[in-house]
């Protein structure tokens, strides 16, 4: 009996010693020491080696867009790595096409900083900041869409261009849900820069929208980063066609505010599609824009109105309404925001009506 006991003790002792050696070795092998990240050949950061590039940059207040919180499931945090990253990992390849791989585009959440590394990112990302915000109002827009108003507390202002988006951090609000970041277009007046409005449509069982709709309360403090994105109207004076559906409304509210603020005389016609009258929203606000803007028209389109709706506006798909309205849009620019299906169908229709592909700008839900 005593022999068995001693044997167990010896084996346990050896196992414990081996574990200690492993921990010790790991601390030496995986200690990469300070590493230098050179950005765009001009900015240098010294960071602690061994961490993913995405979080190393984030710690130094450089925010690359990312929707999954660095777990390699969204493919959004791409950046060009000029040197020091090693080969492309199997976890990256699903998100990188051949051209991107050839151009050294990498997923920053998968690349670990193990030595000095040189990267290229758009200069605009240097202006992205992290904000503490407080939810001050929630407004029902439809049965599955709400407008959330956040007051910026720290910093207290965000400079953005109408059409850009922010990323909101959804905390771990229930067991099993991990913190994630989600992108939403800004729906507020760029001049009113102490506040950020977001128009959000509930995604069935979506992690972030369930939190925003069911858990987030007025007065709650939340974190967001931004502004991100290149979607915006051009400086040309060309007439514009806007097409949106659902929460695709958001950037256009901001764009219309911007047009009003700048005294724009530009012609704009906005087709907003819903399946039923219940899917339409912000008609009053759009009517105000029609009065205040020099040449703006809001055209709500309902694909299948019920008889009891007594709908006397445009009917059918939003793309059909566009087709009915114009015969030639070669002199227009097109701006689209909504589901991939709607965007693809709209691009097809606009091109059939003569619009050049380079004149079509879109923000596709992804």
């Amino acid at each position: 009996m005593a022999e068995v006991f001693v044997s167990v003790l010896i084996i346990s002792g050896i196992a414990a010693a081996l574990a200690l050696i492993l921990v010790f070795c790991e601390s030496i092998i995986q200690n990469y020491g300070p590493c230098k990240i050179t950005i765009n050949g001009k900015k240098e950061l010294t960071v602690e080696g061994g961490k993913p590039l995405l979080s190393s940059l984030r710690e130094r207040k450089i925010f690359l867009p990312s929707a999954c919180g660095g777990r390699g499931t969204c493919g959004v945090c791409k950046c060009k790595v000029l040197s020091g990253a090693g080969p492309v990992l199997p976890t990256e390849t699903p998100f990188l096409d051949a051209k991107e791989q050839k151009e050294n585009i990498r997923l920053s959440c998968q690349v670990k900083v193990k030595n000095d590394i040189a990267i290229e990112i758009p200069d605009a990302l240097f202006f992205i900041q992290q904000y503490q915000v407080t939810l001050t109002a929630v407004e029902d827009l439809t049965y599955d869409m709400k407008r959330f108003r956040f007051e910026l507390t720290e910093p207290a202002e965000m400079e953005f261009v109408a059409g850009q988006y922010v990323q909101i951090t959804c905390p771990s609000y229930q067991q099993g849900v991990e913190e994630v970041d989600r992108a939403y277009s800004i729906a507020s007046d760029p001049k009113d820069n102490h506040f950020i409005d977001l128009i959000v449509r509930r995604v069935p069982n979506g992690i972030c929208t369930v939190w925003m709709f069911d858990y987030l309360k007025i007065g709650d403090r939340v974190q967001m980063t931004g502004p991100y994105g290149e979607f915006r109207i051009s400086n040309a004076q060309t007439p514009m066609i806007f097409i949106a559906g659902g929460s695709g409304m958001a950037p256009f509210v901001s764009i219309l505010h911007q047009m009003k603020n700048s005294g724009s005389k530009r012609k704009a016609e906005y087709f907003f599609g819903g399946n039923t009258v219940r899917d339409l929203c912000l008609s009053e606000q759009m009517a105000k824009f029609e009065k205040t803007l020099a040449d703006f028209k809001f055209i709500p389109v309902v694909s299948r109105p019920a008889p009891e709706d007594k709908w006397n506006g445009q009917t059918g798909l939003v793309t059909e309404a566009v087709k009915r309205t114009y015969t030639d849009v070669s002199g227009y620019e097109g701006y689209l925001c909504g589901s991939p299906g709607m965007i693809d169908a709209s691009i097809k229709v606009l091109m059939e009506l003569g619009m050049a592909k380079e004149r079509i700008f879109y923000d596709k839900f992804a």
Partner: protein
């Protein structure tokens, strides 16, 4: 049976809320293999194959898509619609694959029965034979699905 580290990781991923609120299992305590095996047995009993079911789900989704969220009549007894939501979702299995958050609904006009599924559901069924655990938000009961889509 002892689980391999890979199986343990998969189980953890499926039960976590990393990809979808509440995970892919709901309150189901069965293992992934048990869920897949039981649903496969149901399909065999009904005379269908996984590939056949997934192909039909995909076919109906593709029929519905051009109508941008409106109902489309497939035949005298079936209508379908497909709606896109913002965002993408990945497959919980350790391989590539991102799917748009698109939900297709099918409704029988003769019986009133309905079923709905996401693009990820189609992939999970086609590639992994996984209909999700009982109580998961997107769990599909094979028997109910077949009754509606065929």
């Amino acid at each position: 049976m002892k689980q391999s580290p890979q199986d343990k990781n998969l189980d953890r991923m499926l039960r976590s809320g990393k990809l979808t609120a509440g995970g892919f299992f709901g309150a189901d305590s069965r293992s992934v293999d048990e869920v897949i095996a039981e649903d496969a047995a149901t399909l065999i009993k009904l005379g269908y194959r996984v590939a056949q079911v997934a192909a039909r789900m995909q076919e109906l989704r593709d029929l519905a898509r051009p109508a941008l969220g409106n109902w489309v009549r497939v035949n005298d007894t079936l209508q379908v619609k497909s709606e896109d939501y913002k965002g993408m979702i990945g497959c919980p299995w350790p391989h590539s694959g991102q799917f748009g958050k698109r939900i297709t609904a099918a409704q029988r006009l003769d019986t009133g029965q309905s079923a709905s599924w996401s693009d990820l559901n189609i992939h999970l069924i086609e590639e992994h034979g996984f209909f999700e655990g009982r109580g998961a938000f997107f769990r599909i009961e094979p028997e109910e699905l077949i009754r509606v889509i065929f």
